[in-house]
């Protein structure tokens, strides 16, 4: 096909545009709104209302969602755009209406469309107003036109539902546990239906028996008993169901023996009943057992009596697998294989949440109706009985806090808006539910099946390493189709259902599993797989479905054909190859470039396809076209799309040691840049904006697709590698002061301060005003200097620490407070909002608006110019971070014969141990780019490479190696060695000295312990800790020790009674020292102790322990 790299990149781009960078969230949410909501309603379907003798039911009909809107405090309803929600601390949500039909007897009443609550709207989803707008219109409504969406706005804050990576539901995963003497073979199934999850375990234990555990039954149940309870009584039939192979059937011997106490269905049911409700009457036990069996055992197969047969078949399949693993006919399942993982996105997580709150709503409705109708008979309205707050509040609270159902926390997070990359990366993040405190070593490892699905570099260091992952650019998440469709098709294609299959087919044929459920046997599974795939490529079968053939592992093992239709599989695109030639031709690529065909056309015509990790096991993929041989089935599109967003920023990453790329992936998210273009319209509590952000001159191809070039976060600087007077030791960097004068790495820091005038019970309310001198908590005239008559500061005012931004007075906290002084009227209390003590700046903007409760809401945005200074942190794109060690005037900096003076000098020691050769190559590339006036492409794996760059440099009249001779700016002498110098893209990281520096002489103390407070925000002290204490003890510096730990901390004079050793006190009125125990006999002496010690003594006393202090005269 002789295709160029650019053309393949165009294809990859087409794929990324088609699937979108945050499409997984949006698709999932859309699916929830369109199908999930109705499914949850349909599950309930009808509400029986118990009102004595006349039968009333409420039939639930269609659920509908409206457009995002807000109800103001005066009851008016208005549609809102996200920008307003962010500024006014509102929730971007749409109303849900549901059709409710009262049914009396068999007579249907008038259907009512009832408002049942609000559902937060995902930005850019189908119901979001923004999804219908073009770029100019988006700007018109105050949005950044390239904001990705995919998050929610709840109470004005942007929340992301982080995707959850979970073990695939409804699949049998067999594992071997080597805990006891004999290994245990255990199968685990997470049987999941909408909103309900049952963990079923089935184990072949050391005694040879197979046992099952399920929720609701406290003990293990022998396999055979469960089979009998499910309706299969005969031993032979059960053995037959498990397997036709005699060696497998033999293994069941022990299981028969364990089930002798229940040999028929009724006994088996009673056996279960005995574990559930021991000592009850037979009927009750049976009823209980049946209900547990139907509801808790493999609920994904159905929860009715009629589903028991399927459950038995599934259970038999579980037993087969376990036995096969035990006999070595099958290897145990790899839990970390990505075929066994599914992503749970916003849609399914919201479904869980909605289901619970919807159930609460219906329960409440039932209760309300029963109450109302009993009292007032028949006359009722459903709308009046419904409390929409149940859904609204439950869902909003969960999204706002991240506290989900079943005590799961941290499901939502505040969207990271440090820069555009951090935002995108956050939206493409996955979290594993595995505990971060346990080692889980294998789960944290990179697995071969992650290739092209998850980024190998982008994962945090430390406790979350390998548990938090990020999607690769080439990944796409399946939305799924109804498996029913596939089951029917398979039937038509000759797959014989299990109960119709004869012994021969069951012995020689292959098992066909649809979404993990054994739906039949196929004579020729290999042929069937090929046929199905061809159908998919022809567009006759949905491209969402994947087919994986698993050959038998031993001669007498069974082969399997997996048909995967479910949602949440991570898939990746590949080009199809036929007879060693790709189906993709140059013609296709040309048409693609001209916009005559789209990615979807290529998928539909079977030129490219998306494979999940399961199907990928059947392929042989060539990386490049020239490597193609007869045996290849697929061809990669591009190699570098295997990386995620953050790692795609790194130029020449293949030249770096891998941890450096991981470090950079983390640091890219801390770089200052242009995080959004509507920053003047946003109210992030803190944000930064880099003044002269530049696009890198050494770029990578993927930067284009995630708009890094429009929202960059760094600057190209001239970097020399040189030790300079020791001021760049230990990763410090030296920056040219003149460059800083010219605006290098300047940024603005913004902070929002909020003030609301709340209304209290009894008609009292806060008031924005200039507080009168003398009221409680008055800070002193100078702090109120800048606020105006309305109590609010005006824009462009210069403010420093503790300045009042919004003057506010509040009624007293407790009504009793002023009862004594009632003559004077209620006293007010100053509750003004002030600048943080350690910050300063200029008032940038003042927003005056109204909150949802109708109270006045003021947001003051303060900006502060941040010029690089000693201690500010910077990093290149290769995990090389450092702080400024010195700002050097230009005349002192080394210079080249052309008059080039470096902006940054880094230390040569930063290189050898870290092996970030990529930075060298970037330096060369930057030099070439700046000389040629062209962008150099540093895309991973497909770039010009260091030697070619050297050649270009040579042609330009430079040294091939990138080195140049420089002169010492201070002495004027030529430096003895040539320096490696070039242009590198540097990032300013958000940790600036201005946010961190802190010192204290005297200051606040804690109320409880009287020790100095902790932390910069509270003007706290610097802890003199245990190790520091040890040091002084080691030196014998007792006076200093006493000074630090007592005099300068919480010194206190306690009065102790020498006679009894308890604490005494000084009575001022009598001017006497009093000990309550010894009274007249007391000898009270003052003792200097730590207040914390006095507290300890008193706390012990409160516990009923009487500590005694025995005083002695000082030696």
């Amino acid at each position: 096909m002789a295709v160029t790299q650019t053309q393949l990149w165009n294809l990859a781009k087409e794929f990324i545009h088609d699937s979108g960078l945050v499409r997984q969230h949006i698709d999932s949410y859309n699916d929830f709104v369109e199908r999930g909501l109705q499914a949850i309603v349909d599950e309930v379907a009808e509400l029986p209302i118990d009102i004595g003798d006349y039968p009333l039911r409420i039939r639930l009909g269609k659920i509908e969602i409206g457009a995002p809107r807000v109800i103001e405090v005066d009851g008016t309803e208005r549609s809102i755009y996200p920008a307003e929600a962010r500024i006014r601390n509102l929730t971007y949500a749409a109303p849900l209406h549901m059709e409710m039909i009262p049914v009396i007897g068999e007579r249907e009443g008038q259907p009512e469309m009832v408002y049942i609550g609000d559902l937060p709207v995902m930005l850019k989803s189908r119901i979001c107003l923004l999804s219908k707008l073009g770029p100019d219109e988006l700007i018109g409504v105050g949005e950044d036109p390239i904001d990705p969406g995919g998050y929610f706005i709840v109470n004005g804050s942007e929340r992301v539902i982080v995707a959850l990576e979970d073990l695939a539901a409804n699949r049998i995963l067999v594992d071997v546990e080597h805990t006891g003497v004999n290994p245990t073979y255990k199968a685990k199934i997470f049987s999941t239906t909408v909103g309900f999850r049952a963990r079923i375990e089935c184990a072949l234990k050391g005694d040879g028996g197979v046992y099952v555990t399920m929720p609701g039954i406290p003990s293990d149940i022998p396999f055979m008993i469960l089979m009998r309870a499910l309706g299969f009584e005969e031993d032979a039939k059960i053995a037959e169901l498990v397997s036709t192979a005699p060696h497998v059937q033999d293994e069941l011997e022990a299981s028969y023996e364990k089930s002798l106490e229940a040999t028929n269905a009724r006994d088996a049911m009673l056996y279960l009943g005995n574990r559930l409700a021991p000592g009850q009457v037979d009927e009750y036990r049976l009823k209980k057992a049946e209900s547990v069996l139907d509801r808790n055992f493999l609920p994904h197969l159905g929860r009715l009596h009629s589903d028991r047969k399927e459950k038995a078949l599934f259970l038999a399949e579980i037993a087969t697998r376990i036995i096969e693993v035990k006999q070595g006919k099958r290897s145990s399942d790899d839990k970390d294989h990505y075929a066994n993982k599914r992503l749970k996105l916003a849609g399914s997580l919201l479904a869980e949440l909605f289901r619970i709150s919807f159930r609460n709503l219906t329960r409440d409705l039932k209760y309300q109706l029963e109450r109302i109708t009993i009292r007032r008979h028949i006359e009722f309205s459903i709308a009046n009985a419904i409390r929409p707050g149940i859904i609204t509040e439950r869902v909003q609270h969960a999204i706002a806090t991240g506290n989900w159902v079943r005590g799961r926390i941290g499901v939502t997070q505040l969207l990271d808006r440090t820069n555009f990359i951090s935002t995108l990366s956050h939206l493409r993040r996955l979290q594993s539910p595995l505990s971060r405190s346990q080692p889980n070593l294998e789960a944290r490892d990179l697995h071969p099946t992650h290739y092209g699905r998850l980024c190998p570099d982008e994962t945090p260091e430390g406790s979350n390493c390998g548990l938090v992952k990020n999607l690769a650019l080439s990944s796409s998440i399946s939305v799924g189709i109804e498996p029913r469709e596939m089951v029917d098709r398979l039937r038509r294609m000759g797959v014989v259902p299990v109960d119709e299959a004869d012994k021969k087919l069951r012995t020689t044929g292959g098992k066909v599993l649809v979404d993990g459920f054994l739906s039949g046997y196929a004579k020729d599974p290999v042929g069937l797989a090929a046929e199905l795939r061809e159908y998919r490529r022809e567009g006759k079968v949905s491209s969402e479905v994947n087919f994986a053939y698993q050959p038998p592992e031993t001669d007498d093992g069974r082969s399997e054909l997996h048909v995967n239709c479910d949602a949440g599989r991570v898939r990746r695109p590949l080009i199809l190859v036929e007879n060693g030639r790709p189906r993709l031709t140059e013609e296709h690529l040309l048409q693609l470039e001209q916009g005559r065909i789209t990615w979807q056309d290529l998928v539909r015509s079977g030129i490219v396809e998306l494979l999940d990790a399961d199907e990928e096991e059947n392929t042989l993929v060539a990386m490049y076209e020239h490597e193609l041989g007869k045996e290849h089935t697929h061809l990669e599109i591009t190699p570098y799309t295997m990386l995620g967003i953050a790692a795609s920023l790194i130029p020449f990453p293949e030249h770096n040691q891998s941890p450096r790329n991981a470090y950079e992936s983390a640091m890219a998210k801390q770089a200052l840049g242009v995080f959004s273009t509507n920053y003047f319209n946003r109210c992030d509590s803190r944000s930064h904006l880099l003044h002269y952000a530049q696009t890198p001159i050494v770029q990578t191809k993927p930067m284009e697709v995630f708009n890094f070039l429009e929202r960059p976060s760094g600057q190209n600087v001239v970097v020399a590698i040189l030790s300079f007077q020791g001021y760049n030791m230990e990763d410090a960097i030296i920056i040219n002061k003149s460059s800083v004068d010219r605006g290098l790495f300047r940024s603005t820091f913004y902070r929002i301060y909020e003030a609301e005038s709340r209304q209290y019970l009894g008609g009292l309310r806060d008031k924005f005003e200039i507080p009168e001198a003398g009221i409680r908590g008055y800070r002193g005239d100078r702090y109120y200097r800048l606020i105006e008559e309305d109590g609010i500061i005006s824009p462009e005012a210069e403010v420093s620490g503790n300045t009042v931004l919004v003057g506010r007075t509040s009624p007293p906290r407790f009504l009793e407070e002023y009862r004594e002084f009632e003559v004077k009227g209620p006293t007010k209390r100053d509750s003004s909002v002030t600048m943080r003590p350690s910050e300063e700046g200029t008032i940038d903007q003042v927003f005056v608006t109204e909150s949802i409760e109708g109270s006045r809401l003021v947001k003051v945005k303060v900006r502060d110019l941040r010029i690089p200074e000693l201690g500010d942190k910077f990093a290149s794109r290769h995990g090389q971070k450092g702080v400024i060690g010195l700002l050097v005037p230009q005349e002192d900096m080394p210079f080249t014969v052309d008059g080039v003076v470096p902006d940054v000098i880094i230390n040569p020691h930063a290189i050898p141990s870290r092996m970030t050769i990529g930075q060298f190559v970037e330096t060369l590339g930057g030099k070439v780019a700046s000389q040629m006036g062209e962008i150099v492409d540093g895309t991973a794996f497909e770039n010009i490479g260091p030697s070619a760059l050297g050649d270009v440099l040579e042609k330009l009249g430079f040294e091939k190696s990138g080195r140049e001779s420089l002169y010492n700016g201070i002495t004027g002498e030529k430096l003895a060695a040539d320096l490696f110098i070039g242009v590198v893209y540097y990032q300013k990281l958000h940790q600036t000295v201005a946010d961190k520096m802190h010192a204290r002489a005297r200051g606040q103390v804690q109320m409880l312990t009287r020790q100095p407070t902790e932390g910069r925000a509270r003007g706290g002290g610097l802890r003199f800790g245990e190790m520091e204490r040890d040091c002084l003890i080691g030196h014998g510096a007792s006076a200093l020790l006493r000074d630090r730990l007592l005099e300068e901390s919480d010194k206190y004079t306690a009065f102790v009674c020498e006679t009894c050793g308890t604490l005494a006190y000084h009575d001022i009125k009598q001017n006497k020292y009093i000990c309550k125990i010894d009274a007249e006999k007391a000898v009270v002496s003052p003792v200097s102790i730590s207040y914390a010690f006095k507290l300890l003594v008193q706390e012990l006393m409160a516990l009923g322990i009487a500590p005694r202090l025995n005083l002695e005269e000082r030696a």
Partner: protein, 211 residues
């Protein structure tokens, strides 16, 4: 010491300084960068600014616009006015008043109206800020003499460098002016500053000699 001029253009000068010490050559270079006083906008009174660019950034940008230097002005610290605001002897004002009428519009350095035609932007094409309809800027900027060691905006050279051959003690100089002063004048000024410094040093020594 011998000087041979190689090329002479309005803004660049190349010459060979032979038979000089590194210390001298470097002193010349350093003084050109950091001590030759030139004019640059130092104070900006923003009367109106409803553009998206903050006052402090606007002022910083104006400061970096190279303006031609009229050496008849006094250095502010040496001026007789002793005023923080300055007087007509130590500052030259430039004003800018513009409102974008229709579509967006870029404000260029040419729109800065100098009070003294000898103190005007070197180039007319330096973009200062982009305004959109209805945005308005009105300001008064004051240019003052200053030295490069205080702030890079007072550096008269965009490049002042040399290469040398240690054996022959010849220095191949390149001086590239920002346009504020002609390069030859810069070199001359630098030389004068060196000699003034030496004289000052000599005067200081005089005290010692008398004792």
């Amino acid at each position: 010491m011998d000087i041979k001029i190689l090329t002479r253009e309005p803004e660049t000068l190349r010459f060979i300084l032979s038979d000089a010490s590194t210390a001298f050559a470097n002193a010349l270079r350093r003084i050109m960068i950091s001590e030759v006083p030139i004019m640059a906008i130092d104070d900006v009174m923003v009367l109106e600014n409803n553009s998206v660019m903050y006052d402090e950034i606007l002022a910083h940008r104006l400061g970096l616009v190279p303006v031609t230097t009229d050496q008849s002005y006094n250095l502010p610290e040496e001026c007789s006015c002793k005023s923080e605001l300055g007087c007509e002897k130590c500052r030259a004002s430039l004003s800018l008043e513009i409102e974008a009428s229709e579509a967006s519009e870029v404000v260029y350095s040419s729109q800065l109206k100098p009070e003294n035609p000898d103190v005007r932007p070197v180039s007319d094409k330096i973009p200062i800020v982009k305004l959109t309809q209805g945005q308005r800027i009105k300001l008064e900027a004051y240019a003052r003499l200053g030295r490069g060691r205080v702030h890079a905006k007072w550096q008269p050279v965009s490049a002042a460098t040399y290469s040398y051959d240690p054996k022959t003690r010849t220095f191949n100089f390149l001086v590239e002016s920002t346009g504020t002063l002609p390069p030859e004048k810069l070199v001359l000024q630098a030389a004068r500053i060196i000699s003034q410094k030496t004289l000052g040093f000599e005067e200081g020594l005089g005290g010692i000699g008398q004792n």
